[in-house]
């Protein structure tokens, strides 16, 4: 049996992975050390003070009470160290870098659907460029799932009622597992796939192949199909607010509360418009709950998103600066174009 068939440590393929592994190593050393020490002491004491005659009593001796204080305070301090390190790492895992590329994911029993901003869609396979932060915005069409990339050391539950985001930045090209980590019914263990990490040029080529127009442009068509444009016009004449420039701004509501117009807010505005009424508008927007599929919803949201920001929703992939990539062997041109079944991308 080859050693590669029996790994003890998962592949490290993201910027946070070394940090997670470092904390893991620290925990193993400290906890393992203290445990082994305790077992050793127990073992020695149990042998040394073995009962030799049937009626032997213990010696009349109480260890000093200060010991008690020592093993309340010392473990507590060690625990606090773990707490701080763990939280620091968590912040790193949660804070999405500014320039992240957006990808959308939908979980449904029992598959993962991914959509790139340029409109490429794929199922159970995800193509991403190496060395670029990727932000995944995701929702579920049915039960709770959990999108898990062991090689990147990140996972996040995927909920049916709101968007969640996660991000990672791959550090090497190759093919890594995608698992569903939250039990979701019959084919839970079959809700798996591969993430294909490619050189940015190859990713660009791959994106160019067979897209049906960008997500946002598909969303624009839906915006007309669902007659959103009858109320949301580009000037202030419609019955609904102008959506140009909305994304990322702070919206004042009729009860004077404020919210930030992010994906979740836009999603809620479409599915449950009555929940948060924009100040100065009548609650006339109908709910689209049950009429818009999760896929269409994504497109609408990404259209409204694109209205709101200067940058277009087209993914700004440049040629990589070579320091971003750890891969030694660049791919042959065209190797990244799907369907890509072989492991040619693994350096």
């Amino acid at each position: 049996m080859m050693l590669s068939d029996f790994p003890l440590w998962p592949e490290q393929a993201s910027t946070v992975a070394p940090g997670v592994d470092a904390l893991m190593t620290f925990m193993c050393i400290v906890c393992g050390g203290v445990s082994v020490l305790t077992f050793f002491v127990i073992f020695i004491l149990a042998i040394k003070y073995r009962r030799t005659s049937e009626n032997q009593l213990a010696q009349d001796y109480e260890p000093p009470k200060a010991l008690e204080a020592a093993w309340i305070i010392i473990p507590f301090l060690i625990f606090m160290f773990m707490f701080v390190w763990g939280s620091w790492l968590y912040f790193r895992i949660q804070r999405v870098p500014e320039n992240a590329i957006d990808i959308y994911a939908t979980g449904k029993q029992w598959m993962w659907k991914f959509q790139h901003a340029s409109g490429q869609r794929e199922i159970n396979t995800l193509h991403v460029p190496v060395g670029r932060p990727i932000r995944i915005t995701m929702a579920s069409e049915d039960v709770i799932h959990s999108l898990f990339f062991p090689a990147f050391r990140v996972k996040s539950d995927v909920l049916p009622n709101r968007y969640k985001t996660m991000w990672f930045q791959a550090t090497k090209t190759g093919r890594f597992h995608i698992f569903c980590a939250e039990y979701c019914g019959t084919q839970h263990s079959g809700m798996i796939g591969w993430v294909e990490v490619m050189e940015p040029v190859d990713y660009q080529k791959w994106l160019a192949g067979g897209a049906e127009g960008s997500l946002a442009s598909q969303g624009e068509k839906l915006f007309q199909k669902y007659a959103c444009n009858t109320c949301h016009t580009n000037d202030a004449t419609g019955r609904g607010p102008v959506l140009l420039g909305l994304y990322g701004t702070t919206v004042t509501l009729s009860n004077n509360a404020t919210v930030t117009a992010d994906e979740n807010y836009i999603r809620e505005s479409i599915l449950n418009p009555q929940a948060k009424i924009v100040k100065g508008f009548a609650p006339v927007m109908p709910t689209f709950q049950g009429q818009v599929s999760e896929d269409d919803l994504l497109k609408l949201v990404s259209y409204v998103h694109s209205l709101g920001t200067q940058k277009t929703a087209v993914v700004p992939v440049e040629t990589p600066s070579s320091k971003d990539t750890s891969a030694g062997s660049p791919l042959k041109p065209g190797a990244g174009i799907p369907p890509q079944k072989d492991k040619g991308a693994t350096p």
Binding site: M1, S4, D5, F6, P7, P10, V20, L23, M24, M27, G32, T38, L45, A46, Y49, R50, E54, N55, Q56, L57, A58, Q59, D60, Y61, E62, P63, L67, E68, W71, P75, F76, F79, M82, F83, W85, G86, S87, Y90, F91, I93, Q94, V143, I144, F148, P150, V154, K155, S156, L159, P160, R162, F179, E182, Y183, C184, T186, H188, S189, G190, Q289
Partner: protein
């Protein structure tokens, strides 16, 4: 005085001709008994049966996991098996195990009382348990359930087409059995202590049962409410957890873990109580830091209510709430650490005997320590993101629940077996079994830590081929473990007929339960004992007993 050995330490009493077993014969005298000892036996038989059933599901799952492909069972069957395994082991075996069997039998004996405060309620709680168990069995026969023991919404409310309603109803009922036991114990400990038995003379097992009872009484109703909401939602679809109707599926997780985290302490606190008793008896020494150990039980019971969201670090809670729950989880680990160190310190200059119960408890301390420290890994939120919902968590909770709670239950069963039955079990067989359990356990569950870190998610029927080697190790361990558990079943039954008569105090231990006959008479003590010594105070108790005997 010189002729008095520890084994003679007891109240003088006429040789009991009748004990609780021989008092009455016939099934009805058992089924309608109000005697706490007989009810304990009823529980012992019922939870053993369910343990075997739960174990059966586990063994079949482990066999399935020998190969990466899902070849032995269908996915649906596999999902039902892990669900039933979890529900049975948690709600029908582990939660009642130590409290309802050992606690029921021993609490009045340790307190010098004739029975629990409410004997009829005690019987009622067993009937509730049985009704729930029969419902559960009926459901298993008619198709089972596949939601996982955690019943997460919206899967359980809108998507599963198995018997979710029936099973949650059964769990709801068995919850009441647990509430009633807790209530009964609380009142008993407050009201029925023998003269002189002040709070700080109580054996630590009683303290542990006290803390457990508080948790049972306060947390279980939340489970009941949550399950009712779930049933309601499933049947009339009111929208509490359904996003389409404005509900929130995460609300369920909050409510579920608000019970189920404290529930893990319902399982482990009694185990810690047993550990304290056994360590004291087999070192003939007062537990070091008795008061700290007693208070740490209460601290655990209290803090255990404040950490539920550590099961939800990737489920959708804010960064700051995650930090708060991480901090509190570290906090709750402190009292557990105190106990481990105090048991260790007790061994110093003690008189250590390595009989079977002590072997189990040393195993308990080791495995519980590993389970506890891996909890620290999970509480480090940045690390939890990677290991949550993987086999790492599976290994963690098996180390605490099986390595901890079940080992302690086995220890307690062996330790008090002579008291319960009046017979000794065969020592060498028992030691062999204890070693097999320990070895098999580690072989089964240690590889799962590695598997989890490698990324194998839990509740997977089929898995990636590179995980196979570790899974095979785990299954091999499970077969050793199965033998380890099957042995006691055989030799304990054997000992009922062929075991050596035990006498009142085979271990030379102190504690009121050892001052009466084995098996105890129906009324436990012929005269109410008067306590003038602290718990585990060997010299004082020998002296006090010596005086009584010389009268």
């Amino acid at each position: 005085m010189s002729s008095l050995t520890l084994h003679d330490v007891r109240f003088v009493e006429p040789e009991a001709t009748r004990n609780y077993i021989t008092q009455d014969y016939g099934a009805l005298s058992w089924l309608f008994t109000k005697d706490h000892k007989r009810i304990a036996i009823l529980y012992l038989i019922s939870i053993t049966a369910l343990f075997i059933l739960g174990g059966f599901f586990a063994v079949v799952m482990r066999i399935e996991l020998l190969t990466p492909e899902g070849d032995l069972l269908t996915s649906d069957t596999y999902n039902k098996f892990f669900t039933l395994h979890g529900i049975i082991m948690i709600f029908f075996f582990l939660i009642p195990s130590i409290p309802a069997v050992l606690g029921n039998f021993l609490l009045p004996l340790m307190l010098g009382a004739k029975d629990l405060a409410f004997p009829k309620i005690n019987l009622l709680s067993w009937y509730l348990y049985i009704i729930a168990a029969v419902m559960g069995l009926y459901i298993i026969i008619t198709g089972g359930v596949d939601t996982g023991w955690t019943f997460y919404t919206p899967f359980s409310t809108q998507f599963s087409n198995t018997h979710v309603f029936g099973v949650t109803f059964a769990a709801f009922i068995v919850g009441f059995s647990s509430i009633l036991t807790g209530l009964n114990f609380l009142v008993t400990i407050h009201r029925m202590r023998a003269p002189g038995l002040t709070w700080f003379r109580l054996p630590l097992f009683v303290w542990a049962m006290y803390a457990t009872s508080i948790v049972q009484l306060l947390a279980t109703p939340v489970l009941a409410i949550t399950l009712v909401m779930l049933m309601f939602e499933r049947v009339v679809h009111v929208g509490i957890f359904d996003p389409a109707l404005g509900g929130d599926p995460l609300l369920f997780q909050h409510m579920f873990w608000f019970y189920s985290h404290p529930a893990v302490y319902i399982m482990i606190l009694p185990a810690m109580g047993v550990a304290s008793e056994v360590v004291a008896a087999f070192t003939r020494k007062k537990i070091f830091g008795y008061q700290f150990v007693a208070y740490s039980s209460l601290a655990i019971a209290f803090l255990g209510f404040l950490v539920w969201a550590h099961h939800m670090f990737v489920a959708g809670i804010s960064v700051y709430s995650a930090m708060i729950f991480s901090f509190l989880s570290y906090f709750v680990a402190v009292p557990s650490a105190i106990k481990v160190f105090n048991w260790t310190a007790t061994l110093y200059r003690a008189s250590v005997s390595l009989m079977t119960p002590m072997l189990y408890i040393l195993g308990f301390i080791g495995l519980f320590t590993i389970g506890g420290v891996t909890g620290l890994f999970l509480a480090a939120i940045g690390l939890d993101v990677h290991v949550t919902d993987t086999y790492f968590v599976v290994a963690h909770f098996h180390y605490v629940m099986v390595g901890g709670a079940v080992m302690a239950y086995m220890a307690g069963l062996h330790y008090w077996w002579p008291k319960i039955t009046g017979r000794m079990y065969p020592e060498w067989w028992a030691r062999l079994a204890a070693l097999l359990v320990f070895a098999g356990f580690n072989l089964t569950f240690f590889p799962q830590f590695v598997l989890g870190y490698l990324g194998m998610p839990r509740r997977y029927h089929a898995y990636a081929p590179e995980f196979q080697v570790l899974n095979v190790m785990s299954t091999a361990g499970a077969s050793v473990l199965a033998v380890g558990y099957a042995l006691p079943l055989c030799y304990l039954l054997w000992s009922l007929w062929y075991g050596r008569p035990a006498g009142p105090n085979p271990w030379g231990a102190v504690g009121l339960e050892w001052t009466t006959a084995s098996p105890p008479p129906m009324e436990n003590f012929h005269e109410t004992p008067v306590v003038t010594w602290d718990a585990y105070d060997y010299p004082a108790m020998m002296k006090a007993m010596g005086e009584t005997q010389n009268v």
